[in-house]
Structures are given as structure tokens and as C-alpha cells.
Symmetry: C2
Subunit: 201 residues, 2 copies
DNA sequence: CCGGGTCTATGACAGCGGTCATAGTAGCCA
DNA sequence: TGGCTACTATGACCGCTGTCATAGACCCGG
């Protein structure tokens, strides 16, 4: 979650993602983004001539790449790769954040979808692309673990759906219960989908 | 989804829920709610002296009651009650809407959570209450089908999580794929959780 | 010195947001 | 008729939003 000290443009995209995931797209102002990024206000129209829509879209895009990138790192850290282990790692990222930093933020892609699915088509498309970019490495990981290709895609969608929904519930309840629940209940199903190789369950 | 011609107050709450689930909380204006409900603007401060916050909270509350009420009707319509059948019915309500009316609207509770979880605690609490009120009848239905009480609660949370997450994906993609996917993949797991009575597999 | 990029700095604008203040109407009771 | 209550009707206020316009800083090649 920590972007190093890159250029002001990248910092603004990153800040936009952070503010969006906390307050939603509409409630996040351009001036606020610049201030949060420590960037001059004048840079907004310089780097994002497309206005707020461009900034939001890039933030959603960034979030999608970030989530996709995490999948690979989770895989590398797993002692032995199992579907349930991957899912647990994906969810644990959130439970860790919520326990250590509070329930202030959700998923920026979800926020963009809720706020812009109707009325700002480019942002809606950016959210769909982010979900797709996130789903692919998850599905690929599943096939690598021995899940048939057709089911891998479906199970990846199920995993992300359950995670996103549980995030909503957890944030509203200020309790990670929903997150731990979906991991516990979905784990066996995921591991049972492995057909070749010795399944650990 | 159609509220009959009740009083103006109820119409405004209903309209608020509709607009919120389409555009989000922040992007929904008070004047817009009144206009959508065909109610006079002056009635806003009369019926909702607590301002927008009160109106939003009541809309979220209404949505929670509505979702909870649907569960009972779904159960009554099932030829034989199975967990997967109930889940399929819950999801089908959304696929039907999306196929017939387009992908304009999402879940108002999700929208309220995304937009208000941080910064408006009463609305956050209202969302949590709505999720809880929705979860209970689902869990009760599962226990009635023979699911052990401890798992029933967890599976109800899983069902609602998967539904909410799939809603986000479906809306961003403008495709019901994610919804049908979670039904297909989650159904067997749900039915397998029935321990007593003949499971209808 | 000039010219020409990249980036920054402000100020203004027009619009809309929620909310408040105030006045008006309708009906009902005495 | 008067008076009370429920509800409606407007208009104004202030703050904030995204966006535009304009001008300044800074650096580099010539």
C-alpha cells in the first residue's frame, strides 16, 4: 500500500485511489487529491487534462494493477500453493489492514462501480477492466494448482465476489467477521476443485 | 420493486433508495429525491428534520427490510426448499432486473457503505443493521432446511457476500456473468451443508 | 539575450449542494 | 370567527465543486 516517492503525477493517482476508497468518487475533490499528494493544484490540469474523469479512471486502473500484482506475491509467499491458501492470503491483506489501521477504506474499484456505473461509462469500463485484470492472475494461479481451466475462471470470479461482498459487510460492521467467514466457508470448496496433483485437504 | 401510492413521506424514502442505488449517496441530491417522488420540496425538512442523513438512513433501513422480506417470499415460491434454490432465487431477482431493465442500479446498502462508512457513522450503522436484518431470515431458512445452526449463519454471510460482490462485477461489466457464476459454483457447497432430511441433490 | 518547452500559481466563474428562514395554505376543532 | 396544527412553497445563504484563463517560474538549447 505504500507508493514510494515517485513523481507528482503518480502520487496524485495514488492519492486519488486512497481517497476514493475511503469516501467514494463523488465525495473526493480534485483539490483534496492534490493536497493529499502534496502536489500543486496547478498540476491537476497539466497532468490530467481530461479532468476528474481521467484522474478517477487512472486511479481505478492503478488499483486493478495493484491487486493483480499482489496475487503473484501471495503465490510466492505460500509454503505450498493451494486455492484456499491463496484466497486466505488475499483476504488476510484486508483483515490485517482493518485490524491495524481501522476500517476507513474499502476497495476503490468497488467505490468507482457504485458511484459511476451509471452515468460515467469510461469509469465503468475502467472498473470492469480492473476486475478482469485482477481475475486473470487468480484464475491462472488456480489452473497452475490443478484446477480445470473452465472452473478456474469461475472460481476466481467467485473468490473476488465473495471478497468484495465481505469487504462491504466488514466495513459496515467495523468487524472482520465476514471476511474470516468467507475464507473458512469457501476454502474447502476451492481445494476440492483441484483434480490433479495431491490435494492437501 | 414497486411501491404503491403511499404517502409522500414513504415515497421519498423509496425514491431516495432508488436514486442512491443508481448514483450513490453523495451524488443524490435532496431536491432530486423530492422531484423523483413527486413530492413538494418543502416536505423534505418537514418529514426529515434530520436532513439528508436521516433520509439516507431511512432509505438504507427500507432496503434492508425489503431484502429481508423477499427472502420469505422466495422460500414460499420454491417447489422444494434447498439452500441452492434459495440462493438462486435471490440472485435471479437481480439477473431478471438487469436483463429487463438494464444495469442502472445496484444495492443501496452497498452504495451507502461505500459512500458513508467513513465519515457518517449513523449511516454506517444503518448499513450494518440492514445487512444483519437481511442475513437473519436467510440463516433461519437454512436451518429450516437442515443446516446446522452455526454454519447457517456463516453460509448466509457467504451467500450475501458473494451476491454483493457479483453485483459489483456484473454492473461494471454490464453482464450477468458474475451473478450466474456464483450461483453455479456456490450451489453444490450450500446443498452439501444440509445434514438431516433427504437432500435434494 | 531570446524562444520554447514543462510545470506551477492564482484567481475567477458558474453551478449545485444542503440547509435555514419565512410565509403561505388547508383542514379541523371550538 | 379565531386559533391550532399539518403541510407546502419559495427564496436566500454559504460553501464547495470542477473547470477555465492567465500569468509566472524554471530550465535548457541556441
Amino acid at each position: 500500500m505504500a507508493a514510494s516517492e515517485r513523481g507528482p503525477r503518480e502520487r496524485m493517482v495514488f492519492s486519488a485511489a486512497q481517497l476514493i476508497r475511503r469516501d467514494g468518487v463523488t465525495a473526493t475533490g480534485m483539490r483534496e487529491v492534490a493536497a493529499h499528494a502534496g502536489a500543486p493544484r496547478g498540476s491537476l490540469q497539466h497532468y490530467f487534462p481530461g479532468g476528474k474523469e481521467q484522474l478517477v479512471n487512472e486511479a481505478v486502473d492503478w488499483a486493478g494493477r495493484y491487486a493483480a500484482g499482489r496475487v503473484g506475491r501471495f503465490l510466492a509467499q505460500l509454503p505450498e500453493p493451494t486455492p484456499s491458501g491463496l484466497f486466505a492470503a488475499m483476504v488476510r491483506q484486508w483483515t490485517d489492514e482493518y485490524r491495524s489501521a481501522g476500517f476507513a477504506g474499502g476497495c476503490p474499484v468497488a467505490a468507482a462501480t457504485v458511484d459511476c456505473a451509471e452515468g460515467r461509462d469510461s469509469t465503468r469500463a475502467a472498473a470492469a477492466a480492473a476486475f478482469a485484470r485482477w481475475t486473470r492472475p487468480v484464475a491462472d494461479a488456480l489452473t497452475g494448482m490443478g484446477v480445470p481451466a473452465e472452473r478456474a475462471e469461475s472460481l476466481a470470479t467467485l473468490m473476488i465476489s465473495a471478497l468484495e461482498g465481505a469487504l462491504l459487510i466488514a466495513r459496515s460492521e467495523r468487524d472482520v467477521r465476514a471476511l474470516t467467514t468467507v475464507v473458512r466457508e469457501l476454502g474447502p470448496l476451492l481445494d476440492a476443485s483441484v483434480v490433479r496433483q495431491a490435494s492437501g485437504g
